[in-house]
Symmetry: C2
Subunit: 224 residues, 2 copies
């Protein structure tokens, strides 16, 4: 091969690498199974190639100004940047046909995912409270009032939906819930599904999906 | 007409009223322009027939246990009940073709609406804080740090999107923002768009849409 041939081969290889890179999803997030984990669950479920880019704590201050609203996780794809874990999960849910058959179905799936997100926000409010006295008060209300209400309603909802959160079949809302489970468990300090057999079973069902099982086995160890 | 004829006419009338009732959207919410107002903006924009059912404060304790998660607003349609204002607005957005042309477009619209919702939650955190000292601290951080960050980024976002929140044209995220504007203004106690010309102009654009203008004129007076 002459010099020109070598240059052409190199250019071609760079082009292929560029195209491959452009078509790879990149998840940027902290190195814990928190808000990004449902995204990684969905990408794994769909066998989509993705780069799992973990932000180290020391890097965050440098990266933060370049994120859309100073928050993680972020999804990059074909040079575009997306934020907001719920919006990203809904997008992947569509790609993977984990959605409904009509707009009302999707409304029910969206509301189910929003309910899980609401529950997360309620737990957040206690967990990130800096004042220890107020934190204890918040935990009391959370554990005695808020959590039982959510669990009771979610158990009913799952019963009415044949073991799933919405429309009687597996949707992205179920993967969103199962992906967020560890974070909720971690913040609460106990397994809230202990007396919630439907929520427990649904989580186990998602964890048992071959692609999710494989992901959990190969992912980096938790770093809470 | 004999007795049988009269009965048939009555039955027919009841049937027609039933069908009409089933096909009417019903918005149940408190009597303030808060989370339900974007829903009413969208229904008005689409000239969809809706019943605007206002919950009086005294009624709420009685109704609350019958709502999906003890929250308002609620949308009823064809005997089905939906909750979560963002999910409802997205559903109406699809009906009214205020969405994108592909899944990535919709991801951007969803993330824009979520950002407005995040801003609302940040303002909520201060507004509903019961301890007056902590409330003052929260307001300080909100007004000096959080709000400027959101405003600066939203101004850029609107500039990049030809005057809208996403994809360079009017979407349901814009109506969501404009519908929520009064609530944000009320909680903050000042007009946060005063030094945010793009946000201000976008709100004015939505308010100037004939269907929105007509709705604002005919709706019940604010009841904050």
């Amino acid at each position: 091969m002459d010099q020109r041939g070598v240059i052409l081969v190199i250019l071609f290889a760079v082009f292929i690498l560029y195209i491959r890179d452009q078509n790879t999803y990149k998840v940027k997030s902290f190195s814990v199974p928190a808000l990004a984990e449902p995204i990684r669950f969905l990408l794994s479920y769909g066998n989509l190639v993705f780069e799992d880019q973990r932000i180290q704590l020391g890097e965050w201050e440098r990266l933060k100004p370049f994120t859309p609203y100073g928050k993680e996780p972020i999804l990059e794809y074909k040079g575009k940047v997306a934020h907001h874990s719920l919006a990203i999960c809904r997008y992947l849910g569509k790609k993977l046909k984990l959605v409904g058959e009509n707009d009302w179905d999707d409304l029910e799936i969206d509301a189910a995912a929003d309910t899980i997100s609401d529950l997360r926000l309620e737990i957040d409010q206690y967990f990130y409270e800096p004042d220890s006295k107020i934190r204890a008060q918040k935990k009391e209300i959370l554990v005695k009032e808020i959590l039982p209400l959510y669990i009771q309603r979610l158990e009913n909802q799952i019963r009415e939906n044949k073991g799933f959160l919405a429309i009687g079949k597996l949707t992205w809302a179920d993967l969103y819930y199962a992906g967020l489970y560890e974070y909720l468990h971690y913040m609460l300090g106990f397994d809230f599904t202990e007396n919630a057999p439907k929520l427990r079973h649904l989580k186990q069902q998602v964890y048992a999906l071959p692609a999710i099982k494989a992901w959990i086995e190969k992912r980096p160890k938790n770093n809470f």
